[in-house]
Amino acid sequence: MAHERRRHRGQHARVNLGGTGAEQDAPGRCEGARDRGHGGALYTSEDRGYKSVPVLPTALVARLRAVVGADGVIDRPEALLVYECDGYTLERAAPEVVVLPRTPAEVGAVLRILAAVQVAFVPRGAGTGLSGGTLPIAAPVMICTSRLDRIETIDVPNRRIVAQAGVVNQWVSTAVRAHGLCYAPDPSSQPACTIGGNVAENSGGPHTLKYGVTTNHVLGVELALPSGELVALGGAVEDRPGYDLVGLVVGAEGTFGVVTRATLRLVRLPAAHRTLLAVFDSVDAASEAVSGIIGAGIVPAALEMMDRLIIQAVEAAFKIGLPTDAGAVLLIEIDGPAAGLDEHAARATAVCRTSGVREIRVARDETERAALWKCRKRAFGAVGRLAPNYCTQDGVVPRTRVPEIVRIIAEVADRHRLRIANVFHAGDGNIHPILLFDERDRDEVARVRAAGRAILEACVALGGSLTGEHGIGVEKVAEMPLLFTPADLLAMARLRAVFDPEGRANPHKIFPDAKVCVETRVPRRQAAV
């Protein structure tokens, strides 16, 4: 150890906090990439000064094709359009080439080819991310995991499943439903989003209040490092000795490499549910009920709030029979063994009455439960009818500060002449303001960006966070210094350099684009003993 340390001392590298140390000499660097950093505003990719210049040699593309097959490489410009953005549509940038490996080993082979010529890459699952985490910036190669679509093992007695990265979230629960099991994290995009993407973003969903988020359900990952080496971290058995590298990979937004497969924990399907929809005159009253329910010692499976604009949109679209003059509705779901559920539901109802609830609807069967959930799950679709475009923000406040943040959001909407609808995971304090706009109106787009930043600033000021489940991506890199000190960011940069010393894995994500270069030692991977 001492000998190795001596050997490596003095190996210093300049690591940009943006993780782009290799970018300047690497093929695929973007025109103007060094002229960025105009103090804090959000940009479109073009505004950022990125103008991608094709630089990948034809021979390199041919080598990639040799690994993944002719149908595994997409490089026709019209076909690449699909990949120029994910669910975050305010910025667009197409990769030069999309590679679709068929096996984890092929991911490793592709990465080895890229490592040899120091080319940066961006991993992508289904492209449902909401923070631009798969936007290729100074990364000419996109590695898409959609053909890694095998569920490899289902272990019912041990409640484990091994799924490749491209397996769709919902397939996992579908595959084990007959055994009375499910995979708990259920983001709204679950019919499309992939396990690999969920791991990268540490995805949540409406049921995280009781069941936790992705990191609580991932026991192991196989990670293809930027060097091309595949390394299995963690596994089906708990309590493996050593640093919790799995916990660090989850939520790293693809900046450590490409996750190729994951070992997931399954949970028992709840035996029974009680689902209630409570209608309130105001968000304040509904928030008071949320605090009351938590304070009464009830941990609901879900506690979701929607404000008036959402109610009106849902009602206009789906005619569910919601009162369009209501200030807020609260969807409350309690689950578990049947015994005691009625008692818990009765106590939640009593709390709502104390908070001045106007009306409570109780689902009497699975059909009625689905109908009540429809109003929540279709909220985003309904909003699509209100404006040509919308941008979903994602911020967190301590749950008791929900009324304050909702008031601030209303003020921000007034100030920026925007319409903002609110749907959120009230039990977690995870807000999702939906900013409505028309992308043809450049001024309105600019106001959407400014309003988004103002809301995030308020979240941080209230003791919260920039993102609860969508990730930093490119969307929020400029806001990171609101939450983290230079020392915090340096610690993260050190961690990143452990996995990706050359900064080639999903560059320009998470870390603010400050022009600050920090001197940090890049530890070289040491041989296993």
């Binding site: 596994g235 493996r240 916990g247 660090l248 010692g297 005691g340 610690a491 296993a528 003993v529």
Partner: protein, 422 residues
Amino acid sequence: MTDWGALVGPAWAAPGRADDAVDGVVPTSVVRPAGIEQVQAVVRAAVGDRRALVPSGRGAHLDVGAPPARVDVLVRLDRLARVIDHQAADMTVTVETGCSLACLGAALAAAGQWLPLDPPRPEETTVGGLIAADLSGPLRASQGTVRDLLIGLRVVGADGAVVTGGGRVVKNVAGYDLPKLHVGALGTVGVIVEATFKVRPRPAAEEAIVVACRTAREAADAALAVRDSDVAPLWLEVAGAGGLAEGPGEGAALVVGLGGIAEEIAEARACVQRIAESLRLRAAMVSGGTALRARLGAFPVEPAVAVLKAATLPAEVGAVMERIAAAAREQGTAARCLAHASSGVIRAAITEPAAVAPLVQALRPTLERAGGSLTIERAAPTVKRGVEVWGDPGPGLPLMRSVKAAFDPSGVFAPGRYVGGL
């Protein structure tokens, strides 16, 4: 010599004594900083003078891990013991890491809440020790472990800067999940000074049912039957022969913890009884489930020459317990076993010093080949000297070495205590 007294005040720095020993290694000095700034000063001095530093709380779990290569200074954090901010309505608590679990528990109980982690010796276990040694107890069956409840940390790093990871909100994916780095790391990558946890409402009532079984395998199978039923156990322990002080002697037992409101407990109790009857086993209620849980949770620190910890898949618990018993018999001794059944974690208490190394050799390869592990959780220093404490941490070891090098470049944080000699 580093003048520690100049950093923390002469009254709070002293030469190490025998009872300050970290796994048999007596520290040269013991310092007790009064606040984060003093911790920073101590870390800076340690790094500057290349002094090996071991963070400590009240010293209850300093025998976890491998004996350190050397200890120049033991940094006791027992003066950083405040509960900083308990937001009952937000179900979060921020606490200094020198605070004991008993003290934290009392603060939370006032609001009907708890931090549902139940390692042994809550009076002597600090929040920092809980995190650094990744301690848990029977409640992990339903409540998870430290990694599931920890949402924020403040850590003094090797450069002396305070680094904040995570935050104070229950859902947060901004930046890397740095708190995870420190869970179970035994202070090898920084000194944890402050932590924020999710807390939960404490169940209205708790009780336990003991199901007497003929063999450990039968008890482990019954445990899975309970797990797969509508019982939703709060905890689920399987005791082998002698694993349960009040237990059935040579037989084995399944102990099911139930929590909740009266109606939930009554239904769950009836359900466990039905399962027991269907397996032709006898179930007996135990009033005071909390006290029984605490006794079972204390198993790792009960008097023994060594406590081994085996980790396996939940469905393998019975078989592994039988293998441990058989291996102990071959060594001419007996192993008392107790398992967190649904987590696949089994502890074996060994009383014969000479049997420890052969038992580890006999059991470890099979467990590791199946993706599990066998670690020596606690043992007398003389016993540890003859055997590798951690076993193989798996293919992630090279990355772990890089992590250690990145966060402790001069190698002053608890050198030698962790996996692979880190």
